[in-house]
């Protein structure tokens, strides 16, 4: 074959030097449905990028200001819909902090179990989708199989696969089922097995590695200044995990580690997520051993927790309690707090303001992936168009949470 160099030597073909504008998304398979990128290209090289979110904006924060505090739960399910349980727990903890109550230990352990299951599905979805977008369809199917096993458990526990609405202010909707421990115990080794297969398939694949390594590098300083949190921040080498930094729900008592990366590239982000799945499994293994079989799941406060249904139907006290909580809602004291937990993508914060009534005055959700997505622009400049797919995939932009 003739060397391609010859053409350039003759200087007969000159590539156009005008930058090219390319609109990518929102209807693009790699844009996860809801992001538009306006790119300025110099050949294959990205010179400028304008990331435009907002296509899935549904007015989450405005909607919260119209109902009761409990009526916010279904909306939180639809924030990060890959791990709705983490949002449920995060919002519960926020309102509980505002009221000043703490749930019983059994509930805390239960929240840890459900939350970590959700975290596993969240990280796996991100990793699987990223692999699929790079052409690796088989590992994606394996991973989705694992996700479905976990969703089955969550369905048995909560009645819904994704939109659980299972959190409650001061507890959970139901106590854990009898089967929970057995189900989690059985699924953990299976997850491990599948992840091993995925690792073998992907991490020994030269093409996959080339597409990830050295692509979309984010420095530690940039990440901190941009407010990036979660696996993306840890991939840059910062060991910030809310579960370790300011433990909640008893996370300080579990034995687990926070994986960090060294370079801050797409490969590090991918690996941090996979390792966090392993760590979540470790937490799950410890939590199911601790979960008591009996005991209260909700705080004992009729101003917060709905009475049992048989009391509602047979006693006036139960009816009144139900009536007041359903019609008027929980009434946290006047004030404002910011509460934060480790969501799937990083620090999931709720800044909530109460005016003392049953209706939230303001519910601000600090969406981790909205703020993480901001780093996509700086990361992509200088890379090639084809790198958008893995880099954007590793941000794990979830439309519901990003656009709210």
């Amino acid at each position: 074959m003739e060397p391609i160099q010859e053409y350039e030597d003759e200087n007969s073909l000159e590539l156009p030097s005008e930058p090219m504008h390319l609109h990518m998304g929102p209807s693009h398979p790699a844009m996860h449905g809801t992001i538009r990128m306006v790119l300025e290209l110099d050949g294959e090289i990205i010179r400028k990028v304008d990331v435009q979110p907002g296509y899935l904006h549904r007015g989450f924060e405005k909607s919260c200001e119209r109902g009761t505090w409990s009526q916010v739960y279904p909306y939180t399910d639809r924030l990060n819909y890959c791990s709705p349980m983490l949002n449920n727990v995060g919002f519960s903890l926020a309102v509980e902090k505002l009221i000043g109550i703490e749930v019983p230990e059994r509930c805390q352990i239960y929240r840890v179990i459900l939350g970590e299951l959700a975290r596993v599905t969240d990280h796996l979805t991100c990793a699987g989708a990223m692999a699929m977008e790079l052409g690796a369809f088989t590992p994606f199917l394996w991973i989705i199989k694992v996700r479905d096993w976990i969703w089955d458990i969550l369905e048995i526990e909560t009645g819904a696969r994704m939109t659980h609405s299972f959190g409650r202010i001061g507890g959970m909707a139901k106590p854990p089922t009898e089967k929970l421990k057995e189900l989690v115990r059985n699924v953990l080794p299976e997850i491990d097995k599948v992840l091993g297969e995925v690792n073998v398939t992907l991490l020994r694949n030269r093409i996959f590695m080339d597409r990830l390594q050295g692509v979309g590098v984010l420095s530690k300083e940039d990440a901190l200044s941009l407010g990036v949190t979660g696996p993306m921040l840890r991939a840059t080498g910062v060991d910030y995990d809310v579960r370790k930094a300011t433990p909640y729900s008893g996370y300080e008592t579990y034995d687990f580690e926070v994986p960090i990366g060294h370079v801050g590239d797409t490969y590090d982000r991918f690996m941090v997520r996979l390792e966090e799945v392993n760590q979540s499994c470790r937490i799950l293994g410890q939590a199911i051993e601790r979960l008591p079989d009996s005991g209260p799941i909700n705080v004992d406060d009729p101003r917060v927790i709905l009475p049992p249904k048989d009391e509602v139907y047979t006693t006036i006290e139960g009816t009144i309690a139900h009536f007041k909580l359903v019609m008027e809602g929980v009434k946290p004291p006047k004030g404002a707090i910011y509460s934060y937990t480790e969501g799937g993508n990083g620090e999931l914060g709720f800044y909530i303001v109460s005016d003392g009534s049953g209706t939230p005055y303001r519910v601000r959700c600090r969406p981790p992936c909205f703020i993480n997505l901001q780093s996509a622009g700086p990361m992509l400049v200088g890379d090639q168009v084809a790198d958008i797919v893995p880099v954007f995939g590793s941000v794990n932009m979830i439309g519901g949470e990003c656009d709210r």
Partner: protein
């Protein structure tokens, strides 16, 4: 002003005040059922028990649970005092939230709910029920009694307006006291005792005086319900606007409760105003909201041999043409004592500037009996205001009929539907060259009119009335007018435009911009 300390807060009081009343004046609520600021003190519900710090406290022996001994041990506790009955003393310290006081509240509340039926889902009081509020703030536990509750009569007809439910009743006697002290008619009383206690109507009587709905208004629970409001709406869906009763010249202040989703008014509640109606309203006044929804004129009507419904614009055109045919000297203008100052003043300006007429008459509504409690013999909310709008010179409707008979009046422009005279008496007006009525409802004046232009009712606009004492009182807009219908002052501005002589000030002098929603009073 002397003060005392309530839960660490200084509360000023007037000599003679009880602790409860002084706290109420400051907007502090001590839990209570039987006490009402407008009624005598019964002190029978025991919910308002408070602890008063004394140098030599009166201690009562009691048994307390000792955790270490796992047994009850003799102890003592301070004797609590009903705060609705205890006079405020300068410098005393009162605790309504101390452990003993809260304990007492919890137990009184448990006692009151012992035999209460599971009625919240079908009870009209739910959502504004004191039993619900205080259960949550003061009790929060299940009762300890598990036997069948005592059953009492339910859905007892007390009279044409009130239904009584004995099981929900907590025997606070507010309803009895309202009848005795406000109306002076001892028609309600108690019978039996203990847990068979119930409210009953005097033998041979019905609860049928003029203030029966006040018994429902003061009832802190759902025992008394108004047949007018029963099962019509749930209170948490309602919003309230501050308004003024249109029933008579007293001008009782009220809240109009409406459902914004349906644009419909569901009830009127009295609004406290010490200078007008204190805490009360009469039955007829509380039912005046029906006028806003019944027998409304929502379209224009032209009677040319037979009645025909037309649009507002067509009716305005017909009215302008008819009024243009008659010279100003022969035109009479009928003001309405049912309409606001704004409407009447706009009509007077219209008459002087556009029609050139100086013949003013006032149409009045009659038919209700007055009394010396609240009900005024003048059944119009704004007679004084309408008269003032005409500059104090306005004659009556019989005078108008005389002028029509003599031929001095050949055209009439009338505001409002209300008149003491019926349609038959007003029949001579039919034959006039112009008989234009601006009306919100169907009435005698609209029936004899050849052209009817629809206007908004008082509940669909902001404005003010002047009551018999000469107090100007503002009212807020409650609901939206039917589509296309505008207040009379606006309609008159449109009519002036249709006649080619736009009014100099289209806006009423007291533009309906309410400042802070407060009712203002201007004494003349």
């Amino acid at each position: 002003m002397p003060t005392f300390k309530l839960d660490g807060r200084e509360v000023p009081f007037e000599p003679g005040d009880t602790i409860m009343k002084a706290a109420w004046r400051q907007g502090i609520e001590i839990p209570h059922y039987c006490w009402h600021p407008g009624l005598s003190i019964a002190a029978n519900c025991r919910m308002c028990l408070v602890e008063i710090k004394a140098e030599r406290p009166m201690l009562m022996p009691t048994l307390k649970w000792d955790e270490s001994k796992q047994d009850y041990v003799p102890s003592d506790k301070p004797k609590l005092t009903p705060s609705c009955q205890a006079s405020a003393v300068p410098g005393q310290e009162v605790f309504s939230q101390s452990p003993e006081a809260k304990n007492a509240q919890a137990h009184v509340q448990e006692f009151l709910l012992l035999n209460h039926p599971v009625d919240c889902p079908i009870c009209d009081q739910a959502g504004e029920c004191k039993l619900q509020d205080y259960w949550q703030t003061s009790q929060g536990t299940l009762k300890r009694k598990h036997t069948e509750p005592v059953h009492k009569p339910k859905a007892v007809r007390f009279g044409p307006t009130i239904v009584y439910d004995g099981e929900r009743c907590i025997m606070c006697t507010r309803c009895i006291r309202v009848c005795d002290e406000v109306v002076g008619d001892h028609v309600l009383d108690m019978r039996e005792r203990g847990n068979k206690n119930e409210i009953t109507v005097s033998p041979g009587r019905e609860l049928n005086h003029k203030y029966t709905l006040m018994t429902e208004h003061v009832c802190p629970v759902g025992a008394l319900t108004s047949r007018d409001f029963r099962f019509k709406a749930r209170v948490w869906f309602l919003r309230s606007a501050k308004s003024v009763c249109t029933g008579c010249s007293t001008g009782c202040n009220d809240h109009m409760d409406f459902d914004p989703r349906k644009n419909q008014i569901f009830r009127i509640r009295p609004r406290d105003n010490a200078e007008v109606n204190k805490f009360w309203m009469c039955d007829d006044g509380m039912l005046t909201y029906h006028r806003v929804h019944e027998n409304r004129v929502t379209q224009g009507i032209i009677r040319n041999g037979q009645a025909k419904n037309v649009t507002r614009a067509e009716a305005l055109g017909a009215a302008a043409a008819a009024l243009g045919k008659v010279s100003g000297a022969n035109l009479a203008v009928v003001l309405s004592a049912q309409h606001s100052n704004e409407d009447n003043q706009a009509l007077v300006r219209f008459a002087k500037e556009v029609l050139g007429s100086e013949r003013f008459h006032i149409a009045l509504l009659g038919g209700w009996e007055g009394d010396n409690i609240l009900r005024h013999t003048d059944n119009n909310p704004n007679c004084a205001g309408a008269l003032a709008a005409a500059g104090g010179k306005a004659s009556s409707m019989p005078d108008l009929l005389k002028d029509v008979a003599s031929g001095a009046v050949q055209g009439v422009l009338a505001l409002g539907w209300a008149s003491t005279e019926d349609a038959a008496t007003l029949a001579p007006l039919r034959a006039l060259k112009a008989m234009v009525s601006l009306s919100s409802n169907v009435g005698a004046l609209t029936e004899v009119a050849t052209t009817v232009v629809p206007v908004a009712s008082f509940a669909e606009m902001e404005g003010s009335f002047v009551n018999a004492k000469g107090m100007a009182q503002r009212f807020e807009r409650v609901i939206d007018a039917p589509e296309g219908v505008k207040p009379a002052w606006q309609t008159l501005a449109d009519l002036a435009k249709a006649m080619g002589k736009p009014l100099s000030h289209a806006q009423p002098t007291h533009a309906p911009a309410l400042q802070g929603g407060a009712v203002e009073e201007a004494r003349s």
